[in-house]
């Protein structure tokens, strides 16, 4: 299937989500409540089984915080991109997908460490690279006068 047919097929699998065609991949914009169900359906679908989670990217859009999931199907070679966003900067949280793909374990811990997004249902959400009392460096409003040297 090319990108257009893939976008239509996924649109039929996931009602209520906006499916667009990006330049390279089909992109799906999801509300955060639907994340776990959508991931489960995409993983276990017979025709386009997305069984390989390539990576989860955490992004700070300025006002919102979000996560981008790149999924790939090993047998067919399709790739799809899921995007979720939340505007809650005090206590952002998404559902964890560690029960669907085991590689999400470390990736979600990294996003929690660097951006502060919690994943409910993660078996062991601890900070990965930094200490407990460090802030969240990848946020756009992170300031640290003692350690960062700027020109």
């Amino acid at each position: 299937m090319n990108i257009t047919e893939l976008a239509e097929y996924i649109g039929s699998l996931l009602p209520g989500c906006k499916v667009t065609e990006g330049k390279q991949f089909a992109e799906v914009a999801l509300p955060p409540e639907m994340l776990h169900d959508a991931a489960f359906k995409l993983r276990n679908d017979a025709k386009a089984s997305f069984d390989f989670l390539v990576c989860i990217t955490g992004v700070d859009y300025g006002q919102d915080l979000g996560a981008t999931y790149h999924l790939r199907s090993v047998s067919n070679g399709y790739t799809v991109v899921l995007k979720v966003r939340t505007s809650d900067r005090e206590n952002p949280h998404f559902d964890s997908v560690t029960d669907i793909w085991k590689s999400a374990d470390l990736m979600e811990r990294e996003i929690y460490d660097l951006l502060g997004i919690k994943f409910t249902g993660h078996p062991d959400l601890r900070r990965l690279f930094l200490d407990r009392s460090w802030g969240f460096p990848l946020r756009k409003d992170y300031m640290d006068d003692t350690k960062i040297v700027t020109k």
Partner: protein
């Protein structure tokens, strides 16, 4: 300590926790492993990382695109040119510029030489970890020759920074083809020594066969790519599935085994060295003439959007993701590095084996720690 106890499940008698700290001769860098043991059997391995976390992704947000190329070198320093290529291909894809043929062929040759020297270092240090100190000297003696080839053309031995957005930094040296051909001929004649010392050795085989098995379904679910995944039967070579640079014009085999144990992860890398030499052979004779770079604007600005590029590094699949908002610095630059994802499987395949097997398994997964921490 209570957190450690809760996470490792310790509580029965005769269980105790050992710390293989950040400074250790066989963890290949600053990886801290907290191992809970019962006697000599490993119950749980918990890796603690972050001892070399330098904040490269945050730094990229304040640097221009040509400056980021020099930082990508330092992420996985053993596949330095492949990291450069990933980032440069991504920028070129976003700007939709055509790259001359000469650039594609030279980039491919340099990437394959990089892969060769990374696997040579793997062989050298893996043998040393398991006790065969001779492998260190043989492997590094031959690796020195590749570093001399790099130095003549690019100026640097290991952290080359040779690709840049638009092409190459400088043209290849006139001696490049001659020296590479001489090296390939020499290395082909000496590769039997590597097999004679280590692969056929009874002690090595006893220490690595049937240890740390990983099945195909688990490899896909944990996201293990690269030689570690191909040893379990997972066909994941990006050079075959989505060819970039000059990989669509060369014929080579993707090395696949099905057993998935430590010995076959090692064997895949040895056979990949031979495949790399075949690729270089097919390209080194006819490097096309032409310009070595495309003229770019002094300030590179990417159009708004998200861009994605995958390449095959020596450890697995390396992805470069750039989110741009039209400025001269990227809005968010992310690298999906293979060692970070491969680390997740260490606990799963070591359960039930002895602590000496932990060293063999961790060595066969071939981590480079700055690749995990970035």
């Amino acid at each position: 300590m209570e957190e450690l106890a809760k996470n490792t499940g310790i509580g029965e008698d005769e269980e105790y926790i050992i710390n293989m700290g950040p400074q250790h001769p066989s963890t290949h860098g600053v990886l801290r492993l907290v191992v809970s043991l019962k006697g000599e059997i490993v119950k749980n391995v918990e890796p603690h990382v972050g001892y070399i976390h330098r904040g490269i992704e945050k730094m990229c947000e304040s640097l221009t695109y040509p400056q980021i190329v020099h930082l990508t070198d330092r992420m996985d320093y053993l596949s330095a040119h492949i990291n450069n290529e990933a980032f440069c291909l991504n920028v070129e894809k976003a700007l939709e510029i055509d790259i001359p043929d000469r650039v594609k062929v030279v980039r491919t040759i340099m990437s394959e030489l990089t892969r060769l020297q990374s696997h040579q270092l793997f062989w050298a240090s893996y043998g040393m970890d398991l006790g065969g100190q001779t492998c260190y000297f043989y492997g590094l003696r031959d690796r020195e020759k590749i570093l001399n080839i790099f130095e003549e053309t690019t100026g640097a031995r290991m952290l080359v920074s040779y690709s840049c957005p638009g092409g190459l930094m400088y043209d290849i040296h006139p001696n490049f083809q001659k020296r590479t051909k001489e090296f390939i001929a020499y290395f082909r004649s000496i590769l039997w020594e590597y097999d004679a010392i280590l692969t056929g050795n009874v002690i090595f085989q006893e220490r690595t066969k049937e240890i740390g098995k990983l099945s195909l379904a688990d490899a896909i679910s944990f996201g293990i790519t690269g030689p570690s995944g191909r040893a379990s039967g997972f066909s994941c070579d990006v050079r075959k599935h989505e060819p970039y640079s000059a990989y669509d014009r060369v014929k080579f085999n993707e090395v696949l085994h099905t057993e998935g144990d430590t010995f076959h992860r090692y064997l895949v890398r040895m056979e990949e060295m031979k495949e790399s030499m075949n690729i270089i052979d097919q390209l080194i004779e006819n490097i096309p003439e032409g310009p070595y770079a495309v003229k770019m604007k002094p300030v590179i600005k990417l159009p708004e959007g998200e861009y994605f590029q995958r390449v095959e590094s020596a450890r697995g699949e390396l992805d470069s993701i750039i989110i741009s908002d039209g400025n001269k610095n990227p809005f968010r630059a992310k690298f999906r590095t293979p060692s970070f994802v491969n680390l997740g499987v260490l606990n799963y395949i070591t359960k039930g084996f002895k602590i000496a097997d932990l060293v063999a398994i961790a060595g066969s997964l071939d981590f480079v720690i700055p690749d995990i921490d970035r």
